[in-house]
Every structure is written in structure tokens, then in C-alpha cells.
């Protein structure tokens, strides 16, 4: 566990509903610096919604999201500022189709963070090199494969130098043979101590990358355990049932 480490993000009693339907019903979670949290749960359990709440893409109806001394669950958050520190990568990559790879990556650093062009470019190229795509920096998104697009999307988030990155089912739209190249990049980040919250359906990956597994069902956290514990001896019946389904 990470008790000794600095707490980066703390969620208390988070409530989220769409109209009458309650999606998140009292989520509590502490995220330590450098920790990798993997969120698992059946479809529609609210795990993606939870990530979206942390990035201000959904409004919340109650609870606290404590980050850098402010409560993100309140109404008056300066989200453009917060989002520079909490990056997010989406299922459908969503690179901007009208911009080249390098322009996609530099949009945030130059327009939002107003950084020096040379410095940002240097970092972007370094990151591209790390994911093996430096030679594609002037390509347009449509000229790339799904796996390449998703790696670029990760670089785009990284280049903002965020404290935390949220990954929302980033391999769900990929062809099977491309899943690996994306997961390898995320695994590399984990080894470098990047703080990450990952929603995924890749069980093997969850096991190898996660410091802690958070199992959500019906809008509530059923179980939080180390990856080792969770996959070998889950404490709840629901988690066991969930794992059985995946062990096909």
C-alpha cells in the first residue's frame, strides 16, 4: 500500500446521477503519488463516468474531489487550469483530424500553457521517440493505424506534464494485434512512476500494471485490493463472479 506516500487526489462520497438514475453512489478513493490504480467492473457500472468526473467532463451531484487544496466537486473550478495537471486519454483516441501529429501534441503546450516553442517541440519529439513514432510526426491522424493514434494521444496527454493521467478504456477500440503496443507504453509509464488511473477490460494488463485494483459494481466500490490479492483471492462474491466471467 502507499500510506507513506503523498496523497495526490482524494475522492470522498462522490455522487453522480443522470436524471433519476444514480450512476455513482458514494465513491471513496485516495490516489497516492506514483500509484497506478486500475478500475475494473462490469459494463455500465460507472467506472468511465468516475474518470470523467475527475476531469470535469461530468458534473457531480455530491461529495468531494480534493486535489491540490481545492475541491473539484464544487461549481467554480477553473477546469482549463486543472486539466493541465490531470490528463486524459480516451477510447476513440480523438486526435484532431485537421492537424498533424506534432500540431496535435503541441496545441496544449503552446496555446494553453504558453510554453516556449523550441522547448515544447524538443519534449514532444523526445516523447514521440519513446513511443517509436518520431518518424510520423508530420503525418495526419488518418494516415495512422489505431494503435499509432492511441500512442500519439498518450503523448499528447504526457506533453502537458500532468500529475495524473486518466486512461478510459484506451484499448477497447483497437484491433487485437495493436493492443500490445499501447499497453507497453502505459506499462513503461508505470515503471517511471507516473500516477495513473486506468479503466480497462484487459485483465492480464490490469494484473501486471496495477498497484491497486478498484472493483466497482452498481456505482459503488465493492473491493479495493492489491492486484495480487484481487486476482488470486478476491474478497467479495461479486468480484469473484466478475473474474469467473473473464476466465473463459
Amino acid at each position: 500500500m502507499t500510506d507513506s506516500k503523498e496523497i495526490l487526489l482524494e475522492v470522498q462520497q462522490l455522487q453522480k446521477s443522470f436524471g433519476d438514475r444514480i450512476v455513482l453512489n458514494g465513491i471513496d478513493l485516495q490516489v497516492g503519488k506514483g500509484e497506478v490504480i486500475v478500475i475494473l467492473g462490469p459494463s455500465g457500472c460507472g467506472k468511465s463516468t468516475f474518470l470523467r468526473c475527475l476531469n470535469g467532463l461530468e458534473s457531480v451531484q455530491g461529495g468531494v474531489i480534493q486535489y491540490r487544496g481545492q475541491n473539484l466537486a464544487e461549481g467554480n473550478v477553473d477546469w482549463p487550469e486543472v486539466r493541465q495537471h490531470i490528463g486524459m486519454v480516451f477510447q476513440n483516441y480523438d486526435l484532431f483530424p485537421h492537424m498533424t501529429v506534432i500540431d496535435n501534441i503541441l496545441l496544449g503546450p503552446l496555446q494553453v500553457q504558453k510554453r516556449d516553442k523550441n522547448e515544447a517541440l524538443q519534449q514532444a519529439e523526445q516523447l514521440l521517440d519513446r513511443v517509436g513514432l518520431l518518424d510520423r510526426k508530420d503525418a495526419y491522424p488518418r494516415q495512422l493505424s489505431g494503435g499509432q493514434k492511441q500512442r500519439i494521444a498518450i503523448v499528447r496527454a504526457l506533453c502537458m506534464n500532468p500529475d495524473i493521467i486518466l486512461f478510459d478504456e484506451v484499448t477497447a477500440s483497437l484491433d487485437p494485434e495493436m493492443v500490445r503496443e499501447v499497453l507497453d507504453v502505459i506499462l513503461g509509464l508505470a515503471n517511471q512512476g507516473m500516477t495513473m488511473i486506468i479503466v480497462t477490460h484487459e485483465m492480464g494488463f490490469a494484473k501486471s500494471v496495477g498497484d491497486r485494483i478498484v472493483f466497482i459494481d452498481q456505482g459503488k466500490i465493492c473491493e479495493i485490493a492489491t492486484a495480487q490479492q484481487f486476482f488470486t483471492a478476491p474478497a467479495t462474491e461479486r468480484a469473484q463472479h466478475f473474474l469467473d466471467i473473464f476466465q473463459y
Binding site: G56, F96, P97, H98, P141
Partner: protein, 223 residues
């Protein structure tokens, strides 16, 4: 029939048609330009749902799209002076074309903006773009590319609609042809020149638009 045309008369009339074509081009240019400006402005206001203003714009769009230009022009030219608002024929025609075209351009821009996917917008938000930055770097460039075919179609539509301004006493192609028929009884010549004049004005534009449409449909960014 070609042999029977009075070629001397045709050559003599050419300058008249030339002047009238120039008038049409001027009218269409200003009408299209102002319509585009209004369309861009209004579509952005509608997108951000600025409460009262949006309501007024929606009402304007419905009024403009559901009434004929001829009646709009008559109201502007003959009606408004009675309550103290005088405009020259030229101003009136440009205002009328803009009143009509503004709503069509607004709709074209708006459907372009709506076609930009929600996930694109979220992706822009997630790197910390402000509302204005999001509009400038993510939404508008994509929306414009999507809107181009309908903007072009609207431009051609407005160019054709200029044929109505003769009704408020502007010496346009229609009136030139009508006058020549009335004064010289050269019906075949006058009407042939009339059709040709519009063909010369609109056919090139229409061909360019077809080409652009095909290009937009089959290719995306990065070609």
C-alpha cells in the same frame, strides 16, 4: 434559328448586358459576404446558447427562410420609407439579400458545428483548452471544412436570387432584357443573351462546387 438572330443587335447590346452583369456580381459579392459574416456570428451564438439572443436569432431564421425575397424587398423598399427608413435601391438589395442569405449561412455553419463530434470537444477540453481556444483550434476548422459544400450551394442560391432585384427598379439583367424586348422587339436575341449571361455567371461556380463536393466527400485532411 441561330442564323436568324440579329448579330449586329447582339453586339450592340453586349455593353448593356455587361453593365448589368457587373451589377449582379457586385450585389452577389456584398450579399454573400455579409451573409457569411452573419452566418458565422449567429451560428457561434446559437452554439453557445446565449439565452435571449439565441431566441431572437431562431425567430429571424424562421422569418427569413419562410418568406420570399421579393416580398422582403418590397417591404424594405416601399414599406420601410413610410415609417421614415429610406434606403437606396442598391442598399436595399444588399440588405434584402443579406436578410435572406444570413439565415441560410447560419444553418450551414450550424450543421457543420454540430457535425463535430462530442468526443472531439472533450478531447480538446481534456488538454485544458478554454471555450474560445476550443472554438478556434478544434471546432471551427473542422466545422468549416464540413460546411463548405453547403456554403457554396448557398452562395449560388444567392447569386440566382439577385435576379429579383429588378423588381425594385435596379437596372439588372432581367430589366435590360425586358427593356430591349419592349423597345426593339428583339425577343430571341434579348432572351438568348439573358440566359447566356446567367450561364456565364453561375456555371463556373457550379462546376467548382461540384468539384469541391467530390473532394470533401472522398478525401479528408492529409491529402
Amino acid at each position: 434559328m441561330l442564323m436568324n438572330l440579329d448579330w449586329e443587335f447582339i453586339v450592340e447590346s453586349l455593353p448593356l448586358y455587361g453593365d448589368a452583369m457587373w451589377l449582379t456580381v457586385k450585389l452577389a459579392f456584398w450579399g454573400i459576404l455579409f451573409s457569411l459574416i452573419i452566418g458565422l456570428l449567429f451560428s457561434v451564438i446559437l452554439y453557445y446558447k446565449v439565452s435571449v439572443v439565441s431566441g431572437v436569432i431562431v425567430a429571424y431564421i424562421e422569418l427569413s427562410r419562410n418568406t420570399p425575397l421579393l416580398v422582403q424587398l418590397f417591404f424594405l423598399y416601399y414599406g420601410l420609407p413610410k415609417i421614415g427608413l429610406h434606403m437606396s435601391e442598391m442598399t436595399c438589395a444588399i440588405v434584402g439579400l443579406t436578410f435572406l442569405g444570413g439565415s441560410y449561412m447560419t444553418e450551414a455553419f450550424r450543421s457543420g458545428i454540430e457535425a463535430v463530434s462530442k468526443s472531439q470537444i472533450e478531447s480538446g477540453l481534456s488538454i485544458g483548452l478554454s471555450k474560445v481556444q476550443l472554438a478556434r483550434h478544434v471546432i471551427l476548422p473542422q466545422a468549416l471544412a464540413i460546411s463548405i459544400p453547403s456554403l457554396g450551394a448557398n452562395a449560388i442560391f444567392l447569386l440566382k436570387e439577385t435576379s429579383i432585384v429588378g423588381a425594385i427598379a435596379l437596372m439588372d439583367l432581367m430589366n435590360v432584357a425586358k427593356d430591349l424586348i419592349g423597345m426593339h422587339y428583339k425577343t430571341a436575341e434579348s432572351l438568348t443573351l439573358l440566359v447566356l449571361a446567367y450561364l456565364v455567371l453561375i456555371l463556373p461556380l457550379s462546376l467548382v462546387l461540384t468539384w469541391v463536393e467530390r473532394k470533401v466527400r472522398y478525401a479528408e485532411f492529409g491529402d
